[in-house]
């Protein structure tokens, strides 16, 4: 936490972008597609639920026909019909 606080301070001083704060960059196309830049891994993977580790937060996606279209060390692309998206810190 100390590290994050220091980064926040540095960001404020140097006006650096949010990405350095270990937060994901999320792009959403309606409720059909989700692009998460900064995904650290999968926490839980079920038929109607995907939980992703995004650094500070755990992102939970609930819905139908969930499909991980692409998955690598940085970016995850998820498609389906999303019903609920929650963040747990």
């Amino acid at each position: 936490m100390r590290s994050v606080a220091r980064k926040r301070k540095e960001k404020k001083i140097f006006r650096l972008p949010e990405e350095i704060l270990n937060v994901p960059k999320i792009e959403m196309l309606g409720n059909k597609e989700l692009i998460i830049d900064g995904c650290k891994g999968v926490v839980e993977y079920g038929e109607n639920l995907i939980k992703l580790n995004t650094g500070e937060l755990v992102m939970s996606i609930e819905g139908d026909e969930l499909l991980i279209k692409s998955f690598d060390s940085e970016i995850a692309v998820i498609s389906g019909i999303f019903a609920v998206i929650t963040f747990v810190s």
Binding site: E47, L67, I68, F71, S73
Partner: protein, 393 residues
């Protein structure tokens, strides 16, 4: 996305199913090991996904660690397709050969057509552009379209615009023809109206100027009909542009004779066919005589254009010219025919009021003299040359 799918298809990929164990751990371990995964789906606790060939080969470790059992369900991609048909050499050779042929043929011009021309003939324009290198069979990379367009406009005065559009292997020459400016009636120059022929004046209708002859008077060629010099009461004169319509009865005469006639004796008559393929003409026989020559082209055609494949048929004949003495009956027929031609020519410019044909025989030669009395417009403009001087006494 399409490009990515194409690349995946080109290099090949494997669809697999993983069951049992921990799916989330399996995915994380795969990512850690750099195994690319896509289209991951969880159906009743079983994971189905796709990966590359290399990825599938190194998937055993993450599968073992996460307690999952991996089974491949489908192999997809060009590499597997080629492997499947590896023993069918003919098929591979055929694909390669057809690819080479298609690639080679698409390097050349297949068809050249002209659009936008109204009065200029298609063949004339095509042959003109052919001299600039725009023809069937030319290598596309050797084409200099801009230069051809400029040269065509420079050489052909009837064209106002030309553009060569290249659509793959097809060239379409688009042209626009020049519209000639209408001839302007110049009434600024002072003129007289004079007779163009001998005749008897029937009517005179003056637009500008002074009438110099009356209906019923006889005139000879060059006589003044309407004067452009106007005299004023103070003794001065003004030169104007005289004009009007003068109709006169004019006598016409033409002598038609034909004692001998040229005939052509055909000595050799030959036909030759040539195969035309991409601008190359392969003759099937020896050359044809060129005294009289004509050719007919017949090309293979699809729904859209003429293909650069066809047969050119050439006809040629060699002949000699010979003078033939005609008998009286034939001479008569030919002379009468010539008289009829003369009548037709007259009818284009005047109205024939009276005509007759006189037959005469001189030195065993029949001649026909055609006489006609025609009503004709005989007024022609003759410029008055006025010298400008500044000395006013």
């Amino acid at each position: 996305m399409l490009i990515i799918e194409l690349i995946r298809y080109f290099f090949g990929y494997i669809n697999f199913r993983a069951s049992g164990g921990f799916a989330d751990r399996f995915l994380n371990l795969c990512t850690k090991d750099g195994i690319p995964l896509w289209n991951i789906k969880n159906v009743n606790g079983n994971i189905s996904a796709s990966t590359t060939i290399d990825g599938y080969l190194s998937i055993r470790r993450p599968a073992k660690k996460s307690g999952m059992r991996v089974v491949h369900t489908e192999k997809k991609g060009l590499i597997f397709l080629l492997k499947k048909y590896k023993r069918r050499i003919g098929l591979v050779v055929g694909v390669l050969l057809s690819s080479i042929i298609i690639f080679t043929l698409t390097q050349f011009v297949w068809s050249v057509s002209v659009v936008g021309n109204v009065s200029i003939d298609d063949d004339y324009l095509l042959s003109q552009f052919e001299t600039y290198g725009i023809k069937v069979g030319v290598k596309i990379s050797d084409l200099d379209l801009e230069n051809a367009e400029i040269t065509a406009l420079r050489d052909n005065e009837k064209l106002s615009w030309a553009k060569i559009n290249k659509k793959g292997t097809v060239l379409v020459i688009e042209v626009r023809e020049k519209t000639d400016a209408p001839e302007m009636y110049d009434n600024s120059k002072p003129t007289n109206l004079v007779a163009s022929d001998d005749g008897l004046i029937l009517s005179i209708d003056v637009l500008y100027g002074n009438e110099e002859v009356k209906p019923g008077s006889a005139v000879v060629k060059g006589d003044l009909l309407v004067s452009g010099i106007i005299s004023h009461a103070d003794g001065t004169q003004t030169a104007i542009h005289a004009d009007g319509y003068v109709k006169a009865l004019v006598k016409k005469q033409k002598e038609c004779r034909s004692s001998s006639f040229s005939i052509f004796n055909i000595e050799e008559d030959k036909k030759r066919e040539s195969i035309f393929f991409f601008g190359i003409k392969i003759p099937l026989g020896t050359a044809v005589p060129q005294n009289y020559f004509t050719s007919h082209k017949s090309f293979v055609r699809n729904e859209e254009m003429l293909l650069p494949l066809g047969i050119i048929t050439e006809y040629g004949c060699k002949f000699s010219k010979e003078q033939m003495i005609l008998n009286h009956e034939t001479q008569k027929k030919i002379s009468l025919f010539n008289s009829a031609l003369f009548t037709k020519e007259l009818l284009e410019s005047c109205e024939i009021k009276k005509s007759c044909v006189e037959e005469k025989i001189e030195n065993d030669e029949i001649k026909f003299i055609f006489y006609a009395e025609c009503e004709q417009e005989i007024g022609v403009l003759q410029e008055i040359y006025v010298e400008k001087t500044n000395d006013i006494a």
